[in-house]
């Protein structure tokens, strides 16, 4: 057979590309197949409106593993990360809370609201850094199987146990709370300022179907402290040219290592021969064969669509059906004629250069969630706004701007109506919400792109529009992601692997899943 590859990677998202790059660097003959005309999956830049480059879905960088940046030498391949400083939270009483990387300045700002909280902020920061250091190595580890007697697995479990045991008692206490508590309950112990707790807890709910008071949301507070750029903790950033530039840099690294990448190559089926993956059939009908198929798309697409339920062991099929997606967020991208003018702090200025978080209070956040629980999008949603054109002028014409609005909650399943009927109405709600804080927003809008969970599913292949390819809740993390017993990137189908966000550690533009999977494949296929 002429067109025989060592590995076919399904999906040209950042994880698929990372996976391909590492495999190619190890000398494997790799082919990446992407359904869309552009690479990047959810990490993509598109000029939806002439002259304006939207980071259509994912919009900030923070968790991209530094070892990946190093090992793939991404800066040489064009990756440039521009710091994104601060989170500005307008309040309903006309005041605001503005947190920046400069600790002293943030401290002064918090003191404006509460002296006690300013004190606590130091302690809090220290404690969270400790925790982040504790959790970090777990990110790049293949989850052990706690039910098997395999000595390696037992060793890993023991390693985790010992690590925990070695923590100072204070840290143990914090760690347990972080893993199990709600973001608000956790923050209540440190702070009294409502808006501070609200805007901090927001990071705990992103991409989940949980509220800031739901247990399990505290854990994600850590991610903020794990975001690393050049090893520096807690800094967030934008990549020049939009998040698509990250994918392109990785793709470039992969190509340089010899990987072949095809776009507009949608896959119809994964070819099986006596229970083993042999290759893929494209929608075009072409058949391509390989020793290994590595899928970066979510389990529902991989197994229910491309493999077919009839070929799955029943236990596994049931587990996959239990795996929860239920996307909860939407995205609104705007092309603006100028800058929004915030009521609480009029005029342009550095406060617009960071994230603008519409999370004015804990009750506001919780009520937004209540709407979603009963099957409607939030009447007043939580919105995370970034204006990348202030940091990276290349994404919009001079004097004009791009505004990226991440919106939660927008439940995939609506109780009344369909997303196709509600799309624009939803978009209006988002604009109305922003207008309460920046009344001039309406006049500025030159173009508006509204992405509902349904659009994320259709256009980007994210089942039920879940941006993490499945909820990041405790029962779907680590050795339970995506299915009990199948957290080691292998699948019940021999030679078929998973390398997407639906595997440990999942979520975010981290690339860890793609890298861990590559390591597993190389180990198995020596």
């Amino acid at each position: 057979m002429t067109n025989k590859y060592d590995v076919i990677v399904i999906g040209g998202g950042h994880n698929g590309l990372v996976n391909a790059a590492y495999l190619a660097r190890a000398g494997k003959r790799v082919l990446v197949l992407e359904r869309r005309h552009v690479l990047g999956g959810a990490a993509v830049t598109e000029e939806v409106f002439p002259g304006f480059k939207y980071s259509v879905c994912s919009y900030v960088v923070s968790l991209l593993r530094p070892e990946i940046i190093r090992e793939l030498d991404l800066p040489r391949h064009g990756l440039e990360i521009l710091p994104l400083d601060g989170t500005f939270t307008p309040m309903l009483n006309g005041d605001y809370l503005w947190r920046v990387n400069d600790h002293a300045q943030t401290r002064r700002e918090i003191a404006r609201h509460s002296k006690l909280d300013a004190e606590a902020y130091d302690e809090y920061g220290k404690a969270m850094l400790e925790m982040a250091h504790f959790v970090k190595p777990i990110m790049s580890m293949t989850p052990p199987d706690p039910t098997s007697l395999n000595p390696k697995g037992l060793k890993d479990l023991l390693f985790l146990g010992k690590r925990f045991q070695k923590l100072p008692e204070e840290d143990k206490y914090n760690q347990v709370q972080l893993m199990t508590m709600s973001a608000v309950d956790f923050l209540d112990q440190w702070f009294e300022t409502d808006v501070l707790k609200a805007t901090m807890s927001a990071s705990g709910i992103i991409g989940t179907f949980l509220g800031v008071r739901s247990p399990g949301t505290a854990y994600v507070l850590l991610h903020h402290y794990m975001g690393e750029i050049d090893g520096a903790f807690r800094s967030w950033g934008l990549s020049r040219g939009g998040t698509g530039a990250i994918s392109n840099a990785i793709a470039d690294a992969a190509r340089e290592a010899g990987a072949e990448i095809r776009t507009e190559a949608a896959i119809e089926k994964i070819i099986l021969k006596n229970g083993q993956a042999k290759g893929v059939v494209l929608k075009s009908g072409d058949e391509i064969y390989a020793n290994v198929v590595s899928s970066s798309v979510d389990p529902r697409l991989t197994f229910m669509k491309m493999v077919g339920e009839e070929h799955l062991p029943d236990g596994f099929a049931e587990d996959l059906k239990r795996y929860k997606y239920r996307g909860s967020s939407g995205k609104v991208n705007l092309a603006l004629d100028g800058l929004p003018d915030l009521k609480c702090r009029p005029g342009p200025g550095p406060h617009l250069r960071g994230a603008i978080s519409i999370s004015p209070g804990v009750e506001y956040m919780e009520r937004a969630y209540d709407d979603a629980k009963y099957g409607r999008y939030s009447r007043r949603p939580y919105i995370d706004i970034v204006i990348p054109s202030l940091t990276d002028p290349s994404v919009a014409p001079a004097g004009k701007h791009v505004m990226s609005c991440f919106v939660q909650y927008a439940p995939y399943n609506l109780k009344e109506g369909t997303w196709d009927e509600k799309r624009e109405e939803f978009g209006d709600t988002v604009i109305d919400t922003i207008a309460e804080h920046a009344p001039n927003i309406r006049e500025l809008i030159l173009h508006r792109q509204v992405l509902t969970p349904l659009d994320l599913e259709r256009e980007f292949g994210l089942s039920e529009g879940n941006i993490f390819q499945g909820e990041l809740t405790l029962e779907q993390l680590f050795f339970l992601r995506p299915a009990p017993g199948w957290a080691q990137y292998r699948t019940p189908i021999r030679n078929l692997y998973m390398c997407g966000s639906a595997t440990h550690p999942g979520g975010g533009i981290m690339g860890a899943s793609g890298r861990n999977a590559a390591m597993q494949i190389l180990k198995d296929k020596k």
């Binding site: 039910t147 206490y173 029962e475």
Partner: protein, 532 residues
């Protein structure tokens, strides 16, 4: 020379259990109870002339069988009654569903609702029975020290590890998944009938500041299964009401030589460099002992009974952050007759109404009830756990009449508008209205009612925050973390002071297990001392 070996503060069921075991081990033990009657939250009081009712807890958790045997409680007057029905869930438009101890009867009832659910039910019961069996030993175990586990603890852990593997992959992973899961998700995996889903979910949220959509609420089912091998709320009652249980415990205690003083309010535990030395009563009287055991909840113990100067500030902070905000209230009613619930053909009631009666027909109902509490209001449509004990125990009420015990959730300790004293009756009326929707003749039957709000639970019955479990039983406040990490072995930072209440492992519910576990640790320490 101290007056006593041990002084136990609080004559709740756990305090009495601890007392019994200590006295049987030959320790001179005194129990101090603030109120005029023993029993704490497991009591029977006359709510209206001729009508007696379990004032607070109305069902044994169930009470731990080995304790009944060890302390010969049957001989001391304990009679447990178990009706055929566990729970009967009422529903406004759908037929009521009964869950019975008899699986076959349950299945035949479920057939009418959903054959799919009827099919899944046996495996649901079995898998929880299997997992419960595996977890059960944990309830009788002192949680291991994380810092320096002893050889014995490591041995127990390895035993636990083996029995965990013994579950087999499927159940083992179920256990791992279910622990942190929202109970609403768990029931959706098993059943399609909303009422059945709600019946199971109710166990997960009982007494918790959480709704069925809150992660971690499935753990409540696992504990329940560990307690009595079933995920669904148990219905085991005590003849004479819960007071008869603590009455029997008190008899057993006195029989074993325990001295019990009621009307004795312990104001402070006096501490010196050697540790706890004396307890001083409100009256000013001081009594010394070698060891003190608090049946009170952790917050009361460390923030009221003990002078914080003897505690490490970070420990005090942790105690302050220990979550114990109650969400439950209780309404006890004297009824002139048996309410007739629509859609329940059971005139004499003995068959279907004699267990728990649940109002809380679907998951959204339960979640909305919780929503109200989140914003500081009581639920306009609360989750109700009702019992009519006089059906099995006619002596509790005059002939033909009945007592009804209504557990109400959610009723948050702190109200956003007004306070509980000003809104008490309005609250009770709303609960009565809710019941009346399910039993149209209900209101006419009411002779008298007793309303117990969260602040009452705190002031009258001494549960701080009005939390019936002495603190949330969330993952971060369970097992080795109950009440606090590093202090889950019934000992406290103060030498000679122990905890034995629901604020310790395995927590709330009238099981007597914390008391028994605490006694074991205390006796261990006495032996160590005496060897020296």
């Amino acid at each position: 020379m101290p007056n006593y070996d041990v002084i136990i503060i609080g004559a709740g069921h756990n305090g009495l259990v601890t007392a019994c075991y200590l006295a049987k081990a030959g320790l001179k033990t005194l129990v101090l109870e603030r109120r005029e009657i023993v029993g704490g939250a497991a009591i029977t009081e006359e709510i209206h002339p001729g009508f007696r009712c379990s004032t607070l807890a109305h069902s044994a958790a169930p009470f731990f069988a080995p304790i009944v045997k060890d302390l010969q409680l049957t001989r001391h007057g304990l009679k447990i009654m178990t009706p055929p029905v566990r729970v009967l869930a009422l529903s406004p438009e759908r037929p009521a569903i009964g869950i019975y101890h008899d699986t076959a009867r349950t299945i035949s009832e479920l057939e009418a609702v959903s054959s799919r659910d009827a099919n899944n039910y046996p495996e649901f019961e079995r898998s929880f029975a299997r997992i419960g069996k595996m977890l059960a030993p944990l309830l009788a175990t002192t949680p291991p020290a994380i810092e320096h586990p002893s050889a014995g603890e490591l041995w127990n852990l390895s035993k636990l590890g083996r029995s965990f593997r013994g579950l087999g992959k499927k159940d083992a992973y179920r256990l791992l998944r279910w622990g942190p899961m929202a109970v609403a998700d768990l029931v959706a995996e098993w059943f399609e009938s909303e009422t059945l889903r709600a019946i199971v979910a109710a166990r997960g949220i009982f007494g918790a500041f959480a709704g069925p959509w809150s992660a971690g609420t499935s753990a409540g089912l696992l504990w329940q299964a560990a307690m009595d091998g079933h995920a669904i709320g148990a219905s085991s009652f005590v003849r004479g009401g819960m007071g008869a249980l603590t009455g029997a415990l008190a008899n057993a205690a006195r029989d074993a030589g325990v001295e019990i003083r009621t009307g004795s309010d312990a104001a402070k535990i006096d501490i010196n460099d050697e540790g706890a030395a004396k307890v001083s009563l409100k009256t000013g009287e001081e009594i010394s002992a070698r060891v003190f055991v608090s049946n009170a909840d952790p917050r009361t113990t460390f923030l009221k009974l003990v002078d914080p100067v003897w505690l490490d500030p970070s420990f005090v902070l942790k105690v302050r952050n220990y979550r114990a905000t109650g969400v439950s209230a209780k309404i006890n009613l004297a009824l002139s007759g048996l309410p007739s619930f629509t859609g329940v053909e059971d005139k004499n009631g003995a068959g279907k109404l004699s267990g728990r009666i649940q109002i809380g027909p679907d998951i959204d109902y339960l979640e909305r009830a919780f929503d109200a509490a989140k914003y500081g209001d009581y639920s306009p449509r609360p989750y109700l756990d009702i019992t009519i004990p006089s059906l099995l125990d006619p002596d509790l009420a005059p002939a033909g009449a009945h007592v009804m015990s209504v557990y109400v959730q959610y009723a948050p300790y702190k109200l956003k508008d007004g306070d509980w004293n000003s809104r008490r009756e309005e609250f009770a009326d709303s609960v009565v209205d809710v019941i009346n929707n399910y039993a149209p003749n209900f209101k006419e039957l009411i002779i008298a009612r007793q309303v117990i709000t969260p602040p009452d639970l705190e002031q009258t019955y001494g549960m701080s925050g009005g939390h019936i479990h002495h603190g949330e039983q969330s993952l971060d406040q369970s097992f080795t973390f109950r009440p606090l990490i590093g202090w889950a072995q019934y000992r406290t930072p103060i030498k000679g002071l122990y905890l034995c209440g629901a604020g310790t492992h395995p927590g709330g519910g009238v099981s007597g297990r914390p008391g028994a576990n605490a006694a074991r640790e205390i006796i261990k320490d006495f032996k160590k001392r005496d060897r020296k």
